[in-house]
């Protein structure tokens, strides 16, 4: 049976791992390659690395990061941040990344999803979506949640799937940084609408939250950052707990 995946997320700025609380107030949690290797040894199933460096040499820094991680890591990883063209994606995948994640670029130019999936296969195209619930309706937001769009979340993820997305990484802005659990209701609805895997993101505070997003949210994978970086939860303990709770996970 296919395992539910645990995915630590590393936000990277200028070659160092950081994690924002609600995307503001960054803290330094170490060297990305060392941290990535440690997570792999502990039993992480996959990693997501988001490069939030904002420079004009963006592609170069992202490719350097992908290369360094690919050399050392023996599990799959996704690179996100600043990928806005087929050329960007090609450079990162060619460096050894398994998947690329696109967010704002996909909203601004949905055709990019088609182009990427046709060129590289949908299995390596992750469409990341940040959304917030406003008056009972979920709206897609851009630039780390700062800019609201008129795109309705569920319509957008269905469009993304149709255009060739291989996976959806859904972050609830309402839950991110709260450590109060994932947006399981929205995740379960999304799961009923899509036939591609969904990664839940935003809100992990304890092991039970992760169990809940697998069981109630029907999520295929759970992504978290600070709870792993600051060792609030260890991956071996988490996997053991999930297994005892009847969730199918990979134990290393």
């Amino acid at each position: 049976m296919l395992s539910k995946r645990i995915i630590p997320c590393l936000d990277i700025k200028d070659g160092r791992t950081v994690k924002g609380v609600n995307f503001v107030g960054l803290r330094d949690a170490g060297d990305p390659v060392e941290l990535a290797k440690l997570y792999a040894e502990e039993g992480a199933d996959e990693l997501v690395l988001l490069d939030i460096t904002a420079t004009h040499e963006k592609r170069k820094t992202v490719v350097e990061l992908a290369t360094k991680v690919a050399e050392q890591l023996n599990i799959p990883f996704t690179i996100g941040g600043g990928i806005s063209s087929v050329e960007d994606a090609h450079a990162v995948l060619n460096a050894g990344a398994d998947k690329i994640s696109i967010n704002s670029a996909a909203v601004k130019n949905p055709q990019l999803i088609n182009e990427l999936s046709e060129k590289f296969g949908s299995q390596c195209v992750v469409v990341a979506v940040d959304a917030k619930k406003i008056n009972g309706q979920w709206f897609v937001h851009l630039n780390g949640g700062r800019i609201k769009t008129d795109l309705e979340l569920f319509a957008w993820v269905q469009e993304a799937e149709k255009r060739g997305a291989g996976e959806i990484l859904f972050t609830s802005m309402d839950h991110d940084g709260t450590k109060a659990g994932f947006a399981d209701e929205a995740l379960a609805k999304m799961n009923s609408l899509l036939n591609i895997p969904i990664i839940a993101s935003g809100g992990a505070g304890n092991m039970e939250h992760i169990r809940n997003t697998f069981i109630n949210g029907k999520s295929d994978a759970a992504l978290a950052a600070s709870i792993f970086h600051f060792k609030e939860i260890s991956i071996p303990d988490l996997k053991k707990y999930l297994k005892d709770e009847g969730v199918n996970v990979r134990i290393v």
């Binding site: 296919l2 050399e71 799959p76 050894g96 398994d98 291989g166 290393v252």
Partner: protein, 192 residues
């Protein structure tokens, strides 16, 4: 030992190269027939679309030579599918080393089959001696279970997780991305 990774423009060559480098072997990436034939062992990787990959192999004059290799060959992911006769992906004629048709998953579960899944050994094998541990899969097409199947994985339908025919070894999962379990498979292949 000379290890050559066939570099024909279809995906994950870097990841495969790095995985062998972590094991202390420095593979050569090449699409040169002489270089490939002179190797002690050959890796045949692949990611992407079957038809695009076969077109690349043909354009580079490799499609006739790969079936003639006599040293141990390890096909990975699409590399395994291309060893078959035919693929439903783009209705593509493949290399024909294994007389099977690569089929598309009926989407009764999510497709692609993406993530870690267990395999069951079908027969004893020097390379794929997996003890029901989990391996990393990413694919939408599969090789049906056949007489050459060495491990079976069950997702939507039981399918070949790995196969062996003579000197051709191949796996649907990515050993280069399957943690320590995958590393052991690569080591086993190097030890042949």
């Amino acid at each position: 030992m000379k290890l050559v990774i066939i570099n024909y423009g279809a995906g994950n060559t870097q990841s495969v190269k790095y995985a062998f480098q972590r094991l202390g072997v420095n593979p050569v990436l090449s699409n040169d027939v002489n270089e490939i034939f002179s190797a002690d062992k050959v890796i045949f990787p692949g990611v992407g679309h079957a038809q695009a990959a076969m077109n690349e192999l043909k354009a580079q004059g490799l499609e006739k030579f790969i079936p003639q290799l006599t040293q141990p060959v390890l096909g990975i992911c699409l590399g395994m599918q291309l060893l078959c006769q035919f693929s439903e992906e783009g209705n593509t004629e493949c290399l024909g080393i294994i007389n099977e048709t690569v089929k598309k998953f009926e989407p009764t579960l999510k497709v692609p089959h993406m993530g870690w899944n267990g395999t069951k050994a079908e027969q004893k094998n020097k390379v794929f001696n997996n003890k029901n541990e989990q391996l990393y899969f990413v694919h939408s097409y599969y090789v049906p279970v056949n007489q050459f199947t060495t491990e079976v994985c069950d997702y939507i339908t039981p399918f070949s997780a790995s196969i062996q025919k003579d000197n051709f070894y191949a796996c649907q999962y990515h050993p280069e991305k399957s943690g320590k379990v995958g590393e052991q498979i690569l080591k086993n292949f190097l030890a042949l």
